[in-house]
């Protein structure tokens, strides 16, 4: 971060390369809106640049960025709810590598799982994304979501149970494909 604050181009580029996609991924999982997720990630980096001169060495960049993105996503969701605007631009994360014909079935499976994740309440989606997809520890994830570890575990357990229930009907098909 010191190098970033000093305007080191390589450090800035590496930082963005490392954190941008996971950050957009988290915001997208939360907001389910592609353009909002991208705006949130950009805003998070703008805040990071501003913060870089006063950066506390103890802070972990990824956790800090996730926390900012998480809060901005919640703001965006609440704003949308206040305005009564439906998330018309609901977007799933596209895996361009699986668009070939031989991978069509896998894409179908992926879409089903993705839809199941999207059907979960926002906080459960966020908890699963942070712990499963971002590999964050329970304490880090709880810190980002500003909740206790117990509350996080409750969200995780309910979220995973919800996913199992939603995917139960396609279980054989999904697991067959997975294997």
């Amino acid at each position: 971060m010191i190098q970033v604050a000093q305007g080191d181009a390589v450090a800035c580029r590496l930082l963005v390369q490392r954190h941008l996609s996971p950050l957009v991924g988290l915001a997208l999982r939360m907001t389910r809106n592609n353009s909002e997720a991208e705006d949130i990630a950009q805003e998070a980096f703008v805040r990071l640049w501003k913060q870089s001169k006063n950066w506390q060495p103890k802070a972990k960049i990824s956790t800090w960025l996730y926390r900012v993105a998480h809060n901005l996503s919640i703001d965006a969701i609440r704003r949308r709810e206040r305005q009564g605007v439906a998330s018309s631009d609901i977007t799933e994360i596209e895996d361009t590598a699986t668009n070939q014909s031989g991978m069509r079935h896998k894409q179908d499976v992926t879409n089903q799982v993705q839809a199941a994740i999207s059907s979960l309440p926002e906080r459960q989606r966020t908890a699963i994304t942070l712990v499963h997809h971002r590999d964050l520890s329970n304490k880090e994830a709880a810190n980002i979501m500003d909740i206790s570890v117990d509350a996080l575990e409750s969200l995780l357990a309910r979220g995973r149970r919800g996913l199992r229930e939603v995917l139960e009907d396609q279980r054989e098909d999904l697991l067959g494909e997975q294997l």
Binding site: C12, R13, V16, V24, V46, V109, I128, H132, D135, Q178
Partner: protein
């Protein structure tokens, strides 16, 4: 060496709860429970079965990409980075400290004063020269040629 005997109820409940929360991947387990869980996996077939059941959902979650393509955002984000701001302002090269506006305002003030001085000084000199010339001319014109200069001396 695995044990076929079932887990005691308390251990089973605790393990099931943790697997329900964190799934089957070891690196997702809470640090404080990891050693205990791994030990159970080593010694208990039932614990392994619980883990295998939990891993089904992990496998499905792994199928979903969680990192979208963001290459198109890179330039926009880097354009707001301190690198760009520093490059835009070349004076940072000469003044690598904070508060660039202090030396810059001092320099600007000094420059403005110098310009003002430079613009006004020629007028003083010019006016002074004119006054001296006018005085000399008046003094010269008041003198009578006939009385003070002898004819022929003027050359």
């Amino acid at each position: 060496m695995t044990d076929q005997t079932p887990l005691i109820q308390q251990d089973k409940e605790q393990l099931q709860f943790l697997l329900d929360c964190y799934g089957a991947y070891e690196h997702h387990w809470p640090e404080e429970n990891r050693v205990w869980m791994l030990k159970l996996m080593e010694v208990s077939t039932e614990a392994q079965q619980l883990r295998a059941h939990s891993s089904e959902l992990d496998g499905l979650l792994d199928l979903t990409p969680s990192e979208p393509d963001t290459s198109h955002l890179m330039d926009a984000i880097l354009a707001t980075s301190p690198v760009t701001i520093n490059k835009e302002f070349f004076l940072w090269d000469f003044w690598p400290y904070e508060s660039i506006w202090r030396p810059l305002s001092a320099l600007t003030t000094a420059g403005a004063f110098g310009l003002m001085l430079g613009m006004s000084s020629p007028n003083w000199i010019y006016n002074q020269d004119n006054i001296e010339l006018q005085e000399a001319y008046l003094a010269f014109s008041e003198v009578s040629f006939s009385s003070d200069f002898l004819e022929g001396e003027i050359n």
